[in-house]
């Protein structure tokens, strides 16, 4: 016998259920989640240690040993296990509940301490000064949201503070303007949507952020929201209503599709590029938007569109979700490498995506395993170039 036998503490499982892991006990231990998990596609420490089914079983039994960064915090919440589970188990929620119990006790992985701290003090996870939240819009003449404005453009914190990502926000604003959309931004009073911090277990932080935003949106008279990130889309759509924040929410790709359909914008400039689309988990599996981004890309003249080996529902995560964007992953275990390798194998010039996290993760992988002539671009950037 390698170790002392473990003693189950069934009360812990019940506590997980109460913390939101309502499907914890539904698992019939088939293991489909384990084989579906993208960690199986890479080799390394985390891949060896992290096992979705085992983690949930430990949660059920209340036995210890799952609390390490490599186990409890490995899940990127990509959702492939969730949509494949034959028992309708939602491992993401179960893992989130387990994390929230630890974070609630003050046990936070080191990597997340500055993130949670910055969210509390700055309202964003990137140590950004709240006063510079709208700096991305400089010289663009982006209107401010007023009671007459139809849509609030909610820009992801990442695109507010990350230099590369700011370009995406600018492209989106530019397209909306060209399409004559009635939109505006609120600006520095906004705080992070809270999606990722909730996934990494920061339930209290999430509640504060969401509460603030809901109150702010209501006070400004917001009814409809366009998000730049599918993560914001997810939390506005599925989590804010529980907190009495009901808004009509859409992803910017949906707005672009609408503008093209209505003839309000017409991509006319040839791009002459072979573009491969990477489905962001939160746009695809979590919000079930698969055809929209493809329709938008197909509207660009002389753009040759290619699919990855795994796309749509089977798309592989970039590894940026569930708080992993703030965790270090050793080379060799980076999911982004798999996507870049696929794109290179198919001789693509551009990997197009529609999520700020995906852009960051894929850019990083492109720098290490990619090719010089391969670009990572947001769909908005491609459209804006074509207009």
């Amino acid at each position: 016998m390698p170790d002392e036998p473990k003693m189950p503490i069934p009360e812990l499982g019940d506590a997980v259920v109460e913390s939101g892991g309502s499907t914890l006990y539904q698992c019939m231990q088939c293991g489909l989640c384990v084989t579906s998990c993208p960690w199986r596609l890479v080799e390394g420490e985390i891949s060896e240690e992290f096992n979705t089914r085992k983690l949930q079983h430990m949660g059920q039994l209340g036995v210890e040993g799952y609390e390490s960064d490599n186990i409890l915090y490995a899940c990127t919440t990509c959702g492939i296990c969730k949509i494949r589970c034959p028992r309708e188990v939602n491992p993401i929620e179960n893992i989130r509940a387990l994390r929230s119990m630890l974070v609630g006790e003050g046990s936070v992985p080191n990597a997340y301490k500055p993130v949670i701290g910055s969210l509390s003090s700055n309202g964003n996870p990137w140590q950004g000064d709240p006063k510079t939240r709208t700096d991305w819009a400089k010289d663009l003449d982006v209107p401010e949201f007023t009671e007459e404005t139809e849509y609030l453009l909610f820009v992801c914190c990442t695109s507010c503070y990350d230099a590369r990502s700011k370009k995406i926000a600018r492209a989106i604003a530019s397209i909306l303007k060209k399409g004559g959309v009635s939109f505006g931004i609120i600006g520095n009073e906004e705080k992070c949507c809270g999606e990722s911090v909730r996934k990494l277990g920061g339930e209290e932080t999430f509640q504060e952020l969401a509460g603030h935003n809901i109150e702010l949106f209501k006070s400004k008279g917001v009814k409809k929201i366009i998000t730049t990130s599918p993560h914001c889309l997810y939390t506005f759509r599925y989590e804010y209503p529980e907190l009495d924040g009901e808004f009509e929410v859409m992803h910017y790709t949906q707005m672009i599709e609408k503008l093209i359909e209505e003839g309000k914008i017409k991509p006319a400039n040839d791009l002459n590029k072979k573009v491969i689309f990477h489905d962001p988990c939160y746009l695809g599996r979590h919000n079930e938007i698969y055809t929209t981004p493809r329709n938008v890309l197909d509207a660009i003249p002389s753009l040759e569109r290619e699919e990855m080996d795994r796309f749509g529902k089977d798309s592989i995560c970039c590894q940026g979700g569930g708080g992993r964007i703030w965790m270090e992953t050793n080379p060799g275990e980076r999911f982004g490498d798999l996507r870049i390798n696929d794109a290179v194998a198919k001789s693509a010039n551009v990997v197009a995506t529609a999520c700020p996290y995906c852009t960051i993760m894929l850019d990083a992988s492109n720098m290490s395993v990619g090719k010089e002539d391969l670009e990572i671009l947001d769909i908005a950037e491609l459209i804006d170039q074509s207009l």
Binding site: M1, P2, D3, P5, K6, M7, P8, P10, G13, D14, V17, Y25, Q26, C27, M28, Q29, R53, K54, H57, M58, Q60, L61, V63, R87
Partner: protein, 709 residues
């Protein structure tokens, strides 16, 4: 023996394209048939009318129909009062052989095959007689043994079919094991709650039915006779009740596996109980809601080679039920289910899901030790396959989910006065099946049909259906035997074995080998036939060294004449001949399947269908070899534990007989490789071409049979 034989040859379905029909006509005429007719489509209205017309005008007593396989168009080629032989020119010749105009050898070989096929069929018809039905007076009474849900269901079904029913129950009330249950599995798709089984309602129906007589506290004392003429003695205390009956439904149920053999799982220690004990405690209200932790051990003595190797079907469901008893009393009770696999088929899956959601902890693993701990607790050590570690659980109660054992196992239930013993043969862990896959309910004793948990592990809902199924078989045997017909699998066959007692040496081979115990014997060992027990497999005929057992339409000389009818070319022509004796249940069907799938077969093989390889008599082997046939292949069903033989052990017996064929070979100074035994299932049809080719190559190596003329 048929004297006026009409031969009808069909050229449809491509038959006429592969050989010269005129040659076949000539071959038939040489054998002295009364007439030979050819037709483009014999199965058409005109074709069938042609045959019936000739039967009527020429007074034929047998017809040989050279067309498709006898397994096809069986309903069309029915002609009353004449012997009908189906000669397989389509699957056996045309569809499995090519006519290559470039290759004279091929063409000759196919033509010779077609000629032989028709010659063999004519030889068969010449040797056959149309059997006359031996009708029987029936009692129209069925005895149902066991008054649980299965027996009740069987009794009601048989009564509804018009039979009188005598229901024998050993306890003092009806209901069987169901009397001991607190609640039963949900039977509707609404699985909201476990139900209490309505035994009273079922029993009331029995009592209200004037066709059903119930004997409580009663057991079978003795069974003598055969279907239609069973004499049954029912012991009721000191009373002996005599009843005549046609058939039986054996619904004697199950008993729990002996938990005293499960001391390694803690049985015998305080608070370690079986699922049956748990159920009874629940019924008596003796389960405490103050329990903190209960461990259920699945497959306790099941799927375990040291105990019961099989799955008992209901134990997973029972434990799921028991968890709900506990959770309904007190949701705080921690419940653990330690399992190998949770088997929850059909709507039990919904029950399983429901129990999961109650917060039950399922642990895939095995219990290693159950020991007494502090303060009356039990210390359970178990492996957890998912954790890859061991678990230590403190429990107030450990429930062993023990399995089901058929009451027929090592029991004295039937007291049959049969030469082959008083009880049903024990196969498959004591479950009395005769052919589990093809013929559910059949036992190895004709007229006795098993149903419910005595047949295989099952729940009450299944058992109730099973009772009705077995009742249908018991009713069917009554109706078939009345007309003198065989039951499964040769349903409707009128023929019966006829024993020439003058030449019988009382060697007991037939009485020992009959798979259905149809033959009893007198003090000297001479067989005493019980025709209504017979299933017409012919195993007795194959067993008899004196060859004194014959059927009117199936006999040793008949097959011998078929072998003799084959033309064997002399050795210089390099055209070998191989005799294939093939079981008609699987091997013949597989050969047809090969034809239907366009497979090509070696043209030197000649197939004779047998009712069962058990009917294979060694004299055929000697006849064939003496005639100069180069090789013999026996194609029979798979035998062994998971046998496929429709008559239980026919192919196995044939295989045993083959070990004795060596003597014959030695006497003839022939190589033993000239004879091959192949086990084949219907789905092995694709293997036949290679199987034959391989044998043909071996025979070529050995060279021609020196006994060729």
């Amino acid at each position: 023996m048929a004297e006026k034989i009409g031969c009808f040859l069909c050229s449809g379905c491509g038959i006429g394209e592969k050989f010269e029909m005129d040659d076949v006509v000539e071959a038939a005429e040489e054998l002295g048939v009364s007439l030979v007719e050819t037709h483009e489509t014999l199965c058409s209205k005109a074709g069938l009318e042609l045959i019936q017309g000739k039967i009527d005008s020429d007074g034929l007593d047998a017809v040989v129909i050279g067309a498709c396989s006898g397994r096809d168009k069986t309903a069309l080629f029915q002609f009353p009062n004449v012997f009908v032989e189906r000669s397989n020119l389509r699957e056996g010749v045309a569809w499995t052989h090519d006519k290559d105009d470039e290759d004279d050898d091929d063409e000759v070989a196919t033509q010779e095959l077609a000629n032989d096929v028709i010659r063999m069929s004519i030889a068969k018809a010449k040797s056959a007689k149309l059997p006359k039905p031996q009708t029987n007076e029936m009692t129209d009474r069925i005895v149902v043994i066991g008054g649980g849900p299965t027996g009740i269901s069987a009794a009601l079904s048989a009564a509804e079919a018009g039979k009188e029913v005598v229901l024998v129950e050993k306890e003092d009330k009806l209901g069987g094991f169901a009397n001991k249950l607190f609640k039963v599995f949900p039977r509707d798709y609404d699985i909201a709650a476990y139900e209490k089984i309505d035994l009273d309602g079922m029993i009331a129906k029995i009592e209200a039915n004037d066709k059903i007589t119930v004997h409580l506290s009663a057991e079978i004392g003795r069974i003598v006779g055969a279907p239609g003429k069973f004499d049954v003695t029912i012991n009721k205390g000191s009373d002996k009740i005599e009843v005549k009956a046609d058939s039986f439904v054996l619904a004697a149920g199950w008993k729990p596996y002996d938990a005293t053999k499960l001391s390694h799982l803690g049985y015998g220690k305080p608070n370690v109980i079986t699922n049956i004990e748990f159920e009874q405690m629940a019924k008596e209200g003796k389960i405490s809601g103050d329990l903190e932790s209960v461990v259920f051990v699945q497959c306790a003595g099941s799927r375990d080679d040291d105990h019961l190797p099989y799955c008992s079907n209901v134990c997973c469901g029972a434990s799921l039920k028991h968890v709900t008893y506990l959770k309904e009393m007190n949701p705080e009770i921690a419940t653990y289910v330690i399992y190998k696999d949770i088997r929850a088929p059909g709507h039990y899956e919904e029950v399983y899901k429901k129990v999961q959601k109650l917060g039950t902890l399922f642990v895939k693993g095995e219990v290693q030790d159950v020991d007494e701990g502090d303060e009356g607790k039990l210390n359970v050590m178990a492996t957890d396959a998912l954790l890859g570690e061991d678990l230590f659980i403190e429990a107030d109660l450990v429930v062993l989910a023990t399995g089901l054992v058929p009451t027929t196992l090592d029991a004295e239930l039937l007291h049959l006065e049969y030469r082959q013993g008083p009880e049903l043969p024990q196969r498959d862990y004591g479950f009395p099946n005769s052919h589990f896959i093809c013929f559910p309910y059949e036992t190895q004793r004709t007229g006795i049909y098993a149903a419910g948990a005595v047949r295989m592990p099952m729940d009450i809902a299944q058992a109730i259906d099973d009772g009705a199924g077995a009742a249908a078989k018991a009713v069917q045997v009554s109706e078939l035997v009345r007309e003198g017909k065989a039951t499964h699998p040769r349903v409707g066959d009128f023929s019966l074995p006829d024993i020439n007692f003058k030449r019988c040496t009382s060697c007991k081979r037939c009485t020992e080998e009959c798979p259905f115990g149809a033959l009893d014997e007198d003090e000297k060992g001479t067989p005493l036939p019980n025709p209504t027990r017979c299933r017409r497999c012919g195993t007795c005929m194959g067993a008899c060294p004196e060859r004194v057992i014959t059927f009117e339409n199936y006999s040793v000389p008949m097959i011998g004449n078929m072998i003799k009818a084959m033309e064997v070319p002399d050795e210089f022509e390099e055209r070998p001949r191989v005799l294939v004796l093939a079981c008609e249940n699987d091997a013949i069907a597989a050969l047809d399947m090969a034809a239907h799938n366009g497979l090509k077969l070696n043209p030197y093989f000649r197939v004779i269908p047998l009712r069962c390889l058990g009917s294979m008599n060694l004299v055929w082997i000697a006849d064939a070899l003496a005639k100069g046939i180069d090789g013999i292949m026996l194609m029979g069903c798979k035998f062994g534990d998971d046998y496929q033989c429709h008559f239980v052990k026919g192919s196995e017996l044939a295989n045993v007989r083959m070990t004795k064929v060596q003597e014959t070979l030695d006497r003839l100074m022939l190589e033993s490789e000239r004879i091959r035994f192949e086990q084949i299932g219907i789905n092995d049809y694709d293997k036949i071409p290679a199987m034959w080719e391989d044998f043909a190559e071996k025979l070529e190596e050995l060279g021609p049979n020196p006994y060729k003329e």
